[in-house]
Symmetry: C2
DNA sequence: GGAAGATGTACATATGTGTGAATTTATCTG
DNA sequence: CAGATAAATTCACACATATGTACATCTTCC
């Protein structure tokens, strides 16, 4: 069950992150199609807790810097080492595609850092974006780091759906693809989950954290050069990863 | 009416900002005294939206960097000029007390930047902290920047409460104190709102934004030196504020 | 290796909450 | 400066939702 008012808080914040300017109660209510009274309650709650204020009289609400302060505190802990961002920035620059760092979240994989392609047609992904762990290159690069028991536990929770023609729809299919990835030397996906989307990924263990790097873009661009892209990822990781670390 | 589940989202985030490590469903439920089932729903909602993930198997949930990405987007817009942070940093260093930048939020004043005193006994305030606009030095420094009509509008919404012996409990009392502040050259408060707390503040208009700076601490430390503190604030603002700006 | 305990998930139902309509307050217009 | 229009609040009730209970799954310890 999805907690509506919890989701609404996030929606409001995303709204402000997009518009980047104060908004009045009426504007917010209209934008979301929420009743004014409900919007009033929500805004009052956020204000009361010190997360919204009125920068200038009658110009509406805007988030306080408290969000930033809190987010900083949270992200200070085990931040990603700086070289991982360089990694995806370099990869994106060299390939012209979107590159990301990905982490596990149950049966899903979450994008925790993203550098977007500049191309007009591109893979549009943002930090926080989630994809099924078994049906994506990045996800399978995570699964490769699991023990057999851990993978089995994950499999039990997966609802196998036919997202696209090549989606693996059984445990065996996933395990087979994992074995193939090992012998191939990298993970790949051709529209296994998202239409027209292809990607190449490799595992990226950092300390005891299981992460992966992925480069993804439209099938027609990535397809012909998966091998090179995968090789490039491996080379770039080699170049940037501090030698001392695991 | 306060929207409970909206507040709960904030509580969870504050919880993570404090503990700074992943927490399991059970830990979170126990910490807040929430039922497991409800906690489950909330965590599921936050995860589904891409704001929570599981950094490592079975170690529980932790916020994704999406919070940070969003907060950055929001705060990029009209951030405070850098000199205002220097200002309160200097003030705090010189006085040994807590110094803050404050903005209006209806009948309240919100702390939008804070540098805390290092003293054992100190004014504990965080970004997002809210105080009544009429019963605090910082708040009155905001009111001084309003027109008479605007002030009247605010007064109509204030519930006058006797927070302490010296709290102004009428419009006249507030207006009188404002006039006194003007002739005195700065705003002050001696436990008008918080017990044992005293502060000195001056208006700090920046562009068309109405802000104020305040230095606050225990009455026994601030009391004897309000005049100097106020003078110091004025001098420091003079020194740091770019001459070109309004 | 198996039983006890802890943790995570599903679901029906009573209760707390979102909402539409009414009221108050602010803003615009001639 | 009315009188009209739009925005912000308040409130009582119907219904969506948070929760207690039951079940499943994982972990621990003997």
């Amino acid at each position: 069950m999805i907690v509506r008012q919890a989701a609404n808080v996030l929606e409001i914040m995303e709204f402000f992150a997009q518009t980047r300017k104060p908004a009045t109660l009426a504007e917010i209510a209209d934008h979301f199609g929420w009743p004014r009274s409900s919007t009033f309650n929500l805004l009052a709650t956020l204000s009361e807790k010190g997360y919204l204020y009125e920068p200038r009289p009658r110009a509406g609400f805007y988030p306080t810097p408290r969000w930033l302060a809190m987010a900083r505190m949270i992200s200070e802990v085990e931040p990603l080492p700086t070289w991982t961002h360089t990694l995806i920035a370099d990869l994106s620059a060299e390939t012209g595609e979107t590159a990301s760092i990905v982490a596990p979240a149950g049966v899903m994989a979450v994008f925790i850092d993203v550098v977007e392609s500049q191309a007009a047609i591109r893979y549009f992904a943002t930090i926080g974006h989630r994809v099924p762990i078994h049906a994506t290159a990045s996800g399978r690069a995570l699964l490769l780091q699991y023990s057999q028991e851990e993978r089995d536990a994950v499999y039990r929770k997966i609802e196998f759906k036919q997202y696209g023609p090549s989606t693996p729809i059984s445990i065996e299919a996933v395990e087979l693809e994992l074995r193939n990835s090992v012998s191939r030397g990298y993970c790949q996906s051709f529209a296994d989950y998202s239409r027209d989307l292809a990607g190449a990924a490799i595992p990226l263990p950092i300390g005891d954290r299981r992460l992966s790097v992925v480069v993804a873009g439209p099938e027609f661009r990535i397809g012909p050069k998966v091998v090179e892209v995968a090789a490039l990822i491996a080379r770039t990781v080699d170049r940037l990863r501090p030698k001392a670390a695991a």
